[in-house]
């Protein structure tokens, strides 16, 4: 079992009535109206400190992500964060999980091939290369590209990046979306032929097919709770089985916010306001901003609108800590309670990589650091051995380890 610390880098101090004044925390929220530049400096440094603390206290990896023009999480270039983390954890076997730099946001997308190769070099082979399709709103509203082209660009960018990593000679790329005369990236990644690839998704069957076809690890990033996730995750495992592949739990990664208290009773007081801030304020967004017309394929759009597999975001406003907790949108309580619940989720969903979110919503730096310590001390030691007796190999974990980074001369 591998457990990593995930961070969204949210704006932690939005005014309490902000969601009454603005119709979205995303894309259209004016920075100058609601944000304080000095606080933002603190947030970035706190975020790095929290992730480094997690790395040094027992988490197997640290994980960053990319979003734009919002208060929810504005780690606009996760590789800048990942670079700091890679250097700060040098000499450890902490995985640097980039979930990730989004290829379709960049032109040319080989920038991702280059930056991931840099990160893999700096980290001496500890990189996990995340390949997100990218949020539709980020792509269309923030970066101005036609929603209907996003998936086509994603497939092409993926193929181009993989070829750039694997090819031993310069090559020309004449694609539908990208044309490059001489692809010949420097450097190549430290891991050969390339770092392990994880693909985050939100239960889109077309993404499952892509992941299974390429034998990657799928990361189910959902905010609709572990109970609701079961049905979706089973759909993924059915497809894995149909493809004739094993049910290796490391094919699956799952994200969940976690808050550890001294006792179960204290959890609501300690974490209730922060999870409510997360769902009520940071996910305050009209649906059409989340999914611009054309972002989803026709079949996915039909499925989502006729079956409604997820609640609408505005339904979060009618829910509070108790509902979020009951539906396993987050896991809170004493270390023993959290451990038991996470064990249940891990087994139920057949998860090999768990991404925990110990800082969520308005949680302060001190509280986040304390939560990370409590998780590291009281929870992680009881989870790490979960799959050991089944003998699965984690083919999706980076190869770099303490002491094994060496030059070709040393290897000889």
């Amino acid at each position: 079992m591998k457990i990593a610390c995930f961070h969204l880098m949210p704006y932690r101090d939005l005014q309490s009535d902000f969601d009454k004044k603005y119709n979205s925390a995303w894309f259209t929220l004016p920075f100058e109206d609601v944000a304080d530049r000095a606080m933002v400096s603190k947030y970035y440094n706190w975020t790095l400190d929290e992730l480094i603390h997690a790395a040094h206290s027992g988490f197997d990896g640290v994980c960053t992500n990319e979003h734009h023009q919002n208060a929810y999480g504005f780690m606009v270039n996760p590789n800048m964060m990942g670079s700091v983390l890679a250097r700060a954890t040098r000499g450890t076997d902490t995985a640097i999980i980039q979930m990730g730099e989004t290829a379709v946001f960049l032109n040319p997308p080989i920038r991702v091939a280059e930056e991931y190769a840099m990160l893999d070099s700096i980290s001496e082979g500890r990189l996990v290369a995340g390949f997100p399709v990218g949020l539709g709103g980020d792509y269309a509203y923030s970066y101005g590209m036609a929603p209907m082209e996003q998936r086509g660009r994603y497939r092409e960018a993926h193929d181009l990046i993989l070829k750039a990593w694997k090819s031993d000679k310069p090559f020309a790329w004449n694609g539908k979306y990208y044309q490059l005369p001489m692809v010949n990236i420097w450097p190549k990644p430290s891991q050969e032929p390339h770092p392990p690839i994880w693909v985050p998704g939100n239960a889109s069957p077309s993404t499952w097919d892509f992941v299974i076809e390429h034998d990657y690890s799928y990361c189910y990033l959902t905010y609709f709770g572990a109970k609701g996730a079961k049905h979706m995750v089973d759909g993924y495992w059915d497809k894995v089985e149909e493809a004739g592949k094993d049910k290796n739990p490391y094919r699956m990664t799952y994200l969940i916010p976690v808050g550890v208290s001294e006792t179960d009773e204290q959890a609501e007081k300690e974490y209730g306001p922060h999870i409510e801030y997360f769902y009520h304020k940071l996910l305050h967004m009209p649906e059409q901003l989340l999914l611009p017309p054309g972002h989803m394929t026709h079949s996915s759009l039909t499925h989502v609108l006729t079956k409604r597999p997820f609640p609408a975001y505005d339904e979060f406003n009618d829910m509070g800590f108790k509902e979020f907790n009951e539906r396993d949108y987050l896991v809170t309580g004493s270390a023993a309670t959290v451990t038991a619940k996470l064990k249940e989720i891990i087994k139920d969903l057949n998860v090999g990589h768990l991404l925990l979110l110990p800082q969520f919503g308005s949680m302060s730096h001190d509280k986040a650091m304390e939560n990370i310590s409590r998780i590291s001390e009281g929870v992680l030691p009881h989870l790490k051995g979960i799959w050991d007796d089944e003998g699965w190999e984690d083919k999706w974990w980076p190869k770099g380890q303490v002491g094994v980074s060496q030059t070709k001369e040393e290897a000889a």
Partner: protein, 268 residues
């Protein structure tokens, strides 16, 4: 309701087929619909008594053919596809008419076909852009359904508006499919004009030689009526007709006045 027939016309060397709705008799009008999709309204119905309306579904928006949009990558693909369709229909010198997104296509077709366009009618066309009256595709894609109605119409209580925008009952599969078609249609048209519909028409519009009528609702909240003058100044033989008490949808909001203006222009 007119007796609409449909003709499938191969275009782009057979890579795509365009579904064209046809009704009426008389001189041909090739009509390009707006980003909201093809809708046979009273304006087209009335006009079809004396003209033959040829109204293609924009690729991807014809019922049951969503994947056709994959054959269009750029605006130029659409212009040539429509040019092929006009030839395939055997229309030698049709009247070209378009509304909003379709107005931009109509202007591009007329700039391309020059002398092969009898007359040009542009109803609140997109395609030109100026900072002091800026608009983006995101302006309408990021709106909720009630907000779209607010922006599109001067008076939402107009019976034709109510009929056009009638959404099936909340929570039903019919409503889900209605929403699906609405979102998909906007997504298909947005593919060619995202994020700002300024795709070079300003560099080609001077080529339009057909006599042109530019129509705008005085209360258009989606695209500023001030663009009517920009189109008029850019097209040599053109005139502007504005409609009071009218938003972005003259065919629904001022059906009769629009019809009179168009008939007068065509008979002139």
């Amino acid at each position: 309701m007119a007796n609409l027939t449909q003709k499938i016309v191969p275009v782009l060397g057979g890579k795509l087929s365009i579904t064209v709705n046809i009704s009426g008799s008389g001189p041909p009008i090739f009509f390009c619909h707006s980003a909201g999709g093809f809708y046979w309204d009273d304006f087209l119905e009335n006009l079809s008594k004396d003209y033959t309306i040829y109204a293609p579904y924009f690729p991807g928006t014809a019922p049951g053919k969503p994947d056709e949009i994959e054959q269009l990558e750029h605006l130029w693909d659409a212009v040539l596809a429509y040019d092929d369709a006009i030839e395939g229909l055997g229309l030698e010198q049709p009247i070209i008419m378009g509304h909003s997104f379709g107005g931009m296509l109509a202007a591009e077709i007329a700039a391309h076909r020059k002398k092969q366009t009898r007359k040009l009618i542009l109803i609140a066309p997109i395609g030109l852009w100026k900072e002091e009256a800026s608009y983006t595709v995101a302006n309408w894609c990021a709106l909720s359904f009630p907000e779209i109605k607010e922006v599109l119409f001067h008076d939402q209580s107009c019976p034709r508006v109510i009929k056009r925008m009638a959404r099936p009952e909340e929570g039903t599969e019919e409503q889900a499919l209605w929403d699906r078609d609405f979102i998909w249609t906007i997504g298909c048209t947005a593919k060619l004009i995202w994020p700002i519909p300024d795709k070079g028409l300003c560099k080609r519009i001077h080529r339009i030689s057909a006599k042109s009528l530019i129509i705008w609702g005085e209360n258009d909240k989606l695209i500023s009526p001030s663009y009517a003058n920009d189109f008029e100044q850019s097209i040599a033989d053109s005139q502007v007709f504005t409609l009071p008490l009218c938003g972005h949808e003259p065919p629904l909001e001022q059906t009769e006045k629009l019809e009179v203006a168009v008939r007068n222009f065509l008979s002139d």
